[in-house]
């Protein structure tokens, strides 16, 4: 095992600001934020309340509080962007041709934008009573 005991030499290299370096930073900072945001959401909705007590009235009641709407907007904005950018990172491990990299980036940007807009319209618009 001594062969694996490599001590890395730490040296600071200034990173050039690029889309990829900002995306790398975004994954770290949004990750820190998502731990409380997503854990609280999952513990309340999936574990404590549970799917058998969730219906249209429950959503209407929750969104009657402005704070929960803001909470859900933050969830939507950060989780989905983190997730789609994560998918982009995985895909770019298998795609290296510049033209295909551009295609992946644009398709994912469009996918992210459309789903985020649909979700945001619903949170802002609120529950429609049938």
């Amino acid at each position: 095992m001594t062969a694996t005991e490599l001590k890395p030499q730490v040296r600071r290299v200034p990173a050039r600001r690029s889309f990829e370096s900002l995306s790398w930073l975004f994954m770290r900072y949004s990750g820190i934020l998502l731990i409380p945001l997503v854990y609280i959401h999952v513990i309340i909705q999936d574990v404590l309340v549970g799917v058998h007590k969730i219906d249209l009235d429950y959503v209407a009641l929750r969104w009657a509080t402005l704070g929960w709407r803001v909470y859900d907007i933050l969830l939507l904005a950060f989780t989905f962007a983190h997730g789609v950018n994560g998918l982009r990172n995985v895909l770019l491990d298998y795609v290296s041709q510049p033209s295909k990299v551009r295609l992946v980036n644009w398709v994912l940007l469009l996918f992210w934008l459309v789903v985020t807009l649909i979700g945001a319209m619903a949170i802002v618009g609120g529950v429609t009573q049938p």
């Binding site: 001590k7 997503v38 999936d46 404590l48 799917v51 058998h52 989780t79």
Partner: protein, 137 residues
């Protein structure tokens, strides 16, 4: 896709990377799995505004026992992805600690902490599953 199955899968199985490889794969699989659910979840929740009649149909699907087992697995994936992600962030912030004697230990604790967070959640969700299926609510 053909390339993925021909190259990545056999290589992943042959490469004996121990804990590191397991957490790398689990981080990706959990991330992609949660993203699939998240996309469906944003769209099903959006029906409350666009097509409210359809929302109850979506919820009824989630109340299916198969989906509920999936939900219990999903919660583990969320917990694991968060704890393991935090480990990666800490190492990225303090790369001096990113060395052979700390990494396997940190991976072990990620599994322990994720399981400790998940077990009570899985117990409550599993009990709900039994109450609403066998005992009929």
């Amino acid at each position: 896709m053909k390339r993925f199955f021909d190259i990545v899968l056999p290589a992943a199985l042959r490469y004996r990377g121990k804990g590191g490889q397991v957490s790398f794969l689990l981080h990706r699989i959990s991330g992609l799995g949660v993203l699939v659910f998240l996309t469906i979840h944003i769209l099903d929740t959006a029906t409350v505004y666009f097509i409210p009649e359809l929302y109850q149909e979506a919820i009824n699907l989630y109340r299916n026992p198969f989906f509920q087992v999936g939900e219990i697995i999903l919660v583990f994936m969320v917990f694991f992805h968060g704890v393991n992600g935090l480990r990666l962030i800490i190492f990225d912030l303090a790369p001096a600690y990113w060395e052979a004697r700390y990494v396997p230990r940190s991976q072990f604790w990620v599994f322990v902490i994720s399981l400790l967070l998940w077990l009570p959640a899985a117990f409550i969700m599993g009990r709900n599953l039994l109450v609403y299926t066998i005992l009929g609510g």
